[in-house]
């Protein structure tokens, strides 16, 4: 499982869409603002851009995707180098350096997620990289009060400690931990909590369990967990090191694949497919990615569930306490796509034809409104970042008795809900009426 499927809604479906309404008087439901057929918006506010204008925007969208995925790969390779250094010399300083590299690698990766919804090539691929929450007992040792998904046969498999794994009448040979084996172990027994690979598996190996609940503090694994021979803590340090190396290799291979999907001048990759479709379908994918990430995924699965249930299990980067950054850069990704602008890991800026341009030409008010909403979301999420930098992290903000912290998270959720309504209005302004690229009729 991938986050996509986890994203699925639930109770939150219903609650989220209108989350803002109760608190602030007559806020209209998100969907309403976008329904051109049912509002009295003057006809002049809907103006379809020309096909060439649309195509330019979709083409730049692909450029943007390439830049972000390239940065995810570059920072991923830096993470790999730091992990190699840690394994060669398992000092606390090297562990800290690897942790810093992991956090740096998350920054571009989280900005790739806006490309996930709507582009099946990303969505079908990402589960191996970013699935969460995980039953980490699948991978390594856990504390005695470890909680996992009910009925998950792999929840306490502890791959690192076991060269063989028996499940039902099947015995798996785990003697050699290779990237391919770990990929196979993902979703073991069909349980989506069995996450053997990706950023969060690496995160768990670098930090360990966060046993602090809603109190301060992240995971506290010691570098000695990777010491070979004498001095090894918690046993199986050779297999732990092999696991970390293999899982990182797999991450890099996966990122390389995705970079390849977005490169120009390749007739067989996803970019070629995307650009060969009607440009309107490309715009639809862009808008669908923005709206789905804003509402169902980020505001919903990643924030609302954790907040309402006061559940640190539903925190995104729960081992490292990096959740504030992950949320911030998710939202940043949405804004990037709308503005056609991305600041690369090296500081260079990629900029070009944007959705914002199209919307502005059709309905300047819809554009400025959405721009303001995107900025407001970023400001609201910045408050979570500031709070973390001042020592109070997301897992503390969601504690049942933290009224001020809850309000910060609620503020960010409401801003994302408002932004979703702005995305719908922007879509309507340029004549994109059916937002789901999977169900929309492909007749243009």
């Amino acid at each position: 499982m991938n986050c996509t499927r986890l994203a699925g809604a639930s109770l939150l479906a219903i609650s989220i869409a209108l989350a803002g309404c109760g608190q602030e008087e007559p806020a209209k439901p998100a969907a309403q603002a976008a329904a051109p057929a049912t509002t009295d918006a003057p006809a002049a506010t809907v103006a379809k851009p020309t096909s060439a204008e649309q195509a330019a925007v979709v083409s730049h969208y692909a450029d943007l995707a390439l830049a972000v995925f390239e940065d995810a790969l570059t920072t991923g390779k830096a993470l790999q180098a730091s992990i190699d250094a840690l394994l060669a010399e398992p000092t606390q300083a090297n562990l800290e350096a690897a942790r810093s590299a992991w956090i740096a690698a998350r920054k571009p990766y989280m900005q790739t997620e806006v490309f996930r919804f709507g582009n099946a090539v990303v969505d079908d691929w990402e589960g191996q990289l970013n699935a969460w929450p995980l039953d980490e007992g699948l991978i390594d040792y856990v504390a005695g009060d470890y909680q996992h998904a009910l009925g998950n046969p792999g929840a306490s498999a502890n791959i690192i400690a076991n060269a063989k794994l028996t499940m039902g009448d099947q015995t798996l040979d785990l003697a050699t931990l290779t990237p391919e084996l770990l990929a196979e172990l993902n979703e073991l027994g069909g349980s989506e909590a069995n996450v053997a690979t990706g950023y969060h598996a690496i995160e768990f190996l670098l930090w360990g369990q966060d046993l602090n609940g809603t109190n301060p503090g992240a995971g506290n694994r010691q570098a000695s967990d990777f010491v070979q021979g004498e001095g090894c803590t918690n046993g199986f340090c050779d297999r732990r090191a092999a696991y970390l190396k293999a899982v990182t290799t797999l991450l890099i291979t996966d990122l390389e694949y995705m970079v390849g999907q977005w490169q120009a001048d390749n007739a067989d990759n996803y970019r070629a497919t995307l650009l060969s479709e009607a440009p309107e379908q490309g715009l639809r994918k862009m808008l669908f990615g923005m709206g789905s990430l804003s509402l169902g995924e980020l505001a919903g699965e990643r924030m609302k569930v954790a907040l309402e249930a006061n559940s640190t299990e539903d925190e995104h980067d729960c081992f490292s306490d990096n959740t504030h950054n992950s949320h911030f850069y998710n939202a940043k990704g949405v804004r990037n796509v709308y503005l056609g602008e991305y600041t690369r890991a090296d500081g260079n800026v990629v900029k070009g034809a944007s959705l914002s341009d199209l919307v502005k030409a059709a309905n300047a008010d819809a554009d400025s409104k959405l721009q303001a909403e995107l900025a407001a979301s970023e400001a609201a999420l910045q408050k979570l970042v500031d709070s973390a930098n001042n020592g109070t992290h997301f897992d503390q903000l969601i504690a049942a008795d933290n009224t001020a912290g809850n309000a910060l998270v609620t503020g960010a959720i409401n801003a994302l809900v408002a932004q979703t309504s702005g995305i719908e209005a922007a879509a309507a302004a340029i004549g994109i009426t059916e937002l789901n690229p999977d169900t929309a009729d492909h007749q243009f």
Partner: protein, 350 residues
């Protein structure tokens, strides 16, 4: 934009003799009244659950009776799914009734943590606690989990405080929601009497009602799909099912579907169908409703036992596909026929 004003006129011309012509105002009004009745039913069932848990905990009443009251309350809640619009859809109130999906057994864990920390919980304290603890999901855990037997006095001593508090919380919540739907300023009136602050015209009310129904269908799909392994390589996930402890998953889906079908309407009862000019589409949706109903009605045992049998798994797969087809008809064809645009909802990306 002006097209919608022409629609009723067109309808009057095209509608066959078998269906009385209805306009948007009439249909929205009928749907509001139907949903109001559903809220009434839920409030009664919630109060009955509270009464029966009081009998269990304080007057030697039977556990079986409380379990039955829970089932009735849960079905009444399931029937509200296509009516989750307005007050209950705001401020995460619906989460106070049911917490699903519960991927990591938060219900069981939070109950334990709460009672360890605060053995004498009362309703006022529960009102301030996590939503996970406030609703039918936690009550299900107390009444049905294998580790708890509330027919025993010593277990009652530990769990009854929470159970009674949940009964009180649900009674209060359902009564508040009912009040919010009733009266001249209530939500039923808000839907029906346009223009108002929320809805500028009947078509806006209608659009919001349809979006709510489509969302409920997506959730039904998700509930069944998760359990039968649609998201997990085809491997069934019995503990990820809705209400698995009470094995009430299929009852819940049947109640939601029945409610949706009522809102669709039938020969003697006005519903959405009366706004569909295209007789062929009306027939397709009607047929799909009937087929979905029959498929679910044919299951004579609970989901948990069906999941362990491969023939039954195939029947469940078929039931899922029926739900999916119904959802597709609503989201695409019906929305288009009623001139309604679907916005984003929290299921996008599933």
């Amino acid at each position: 934009m002006r097209l919608r004003f022409a629609a009723p006129l067109l309808f009057a011309v095209l509608a066959g003799c078998d269906t009385p012509p209805a306009d948007t105002v009439t249909v929205v009004n009928q749907l509001s009244q139907q949903m109001l009745a559903d809220y009434q039913h839920w409030a009664s069932a919630s109060a009955a659950l509270a009464n029966s848990t009081q009998a269990l905990c304080q007057q030697g009443g039977s556990l079986t009776a409380s379990q039955q009251s829970w089932r009735e309350a849960f079905n009444a809640w399931a029937a509200l799914q296509p009516a989750l619009i307005g007050p209950l859809a705001e401020q995460n109130r619906s989460w106070q009734v049911q917490f699903w999906p519960d991927k990591k057994n938060l219900v069981g864990r939070q109950v334990k943590m709460l009672l360890d920390a605060n053995p004498s919980i009362d309703q006022a304290q529960l009102d301030k606690s996590s939503v996970v603890l406030q609703g039918l999901s936690a009550a299900e855990y107390l009444l049905f989990d294998q580790s708890i037997d509330l027919s025993q006095t010593e277990q009652q001593a530990r769990y009854c405080g929470l159970l009674l508090a949940i009964g009180g919380h649900q009674t209060q919540l359902s009564q508040d929601m009912l009040s919010a739907w009733q009266g001249a300023q209530g939500f039923a009136a808000t839907l029906s009497n346009t223009p108002n602050q929320r809805f500028a015209e009947p078509q806006e009310s209608l659009a919001e009602l349809l979006r709510t129904q489509v969302s409920s269908l997506e959730l039904m799909k998700k509930k069944l799909g998760t359990a039968i392994g649609r998201l997990s390589k085809g491997i069934a996930q019995p503990y990820q099912a809705e209400a698995w402890r009470a094995d009430a998953s299929l009852d819940s889906l049947r109640a939601s579907l029945a409610s949706l079908q009522t809102l669709w309407g039938q020969a003697q009862q006005v519903g959405l169908r009366d706004l569909v000019n295209d007789a062929a589409l009306r027939e397709r949706i009607e047929h799909q409703h009937a087929q979905t109903h029959d498929t679910f009605a044919a299951f004579t045992s609970g989901l948990q036992s069906l999941l362990s049998n491969s023939d039954d798994q195939q029947r469940l797969d078929k039931a899922y596909l029926e739900l999916a087809e119904l959802q597709r008809l609503y989201e695409k064809d019906l929305a288009r026929a009623l001139n309604i645009q679907m916005g984003f909802n929290a299921h996008d990306g599933d």
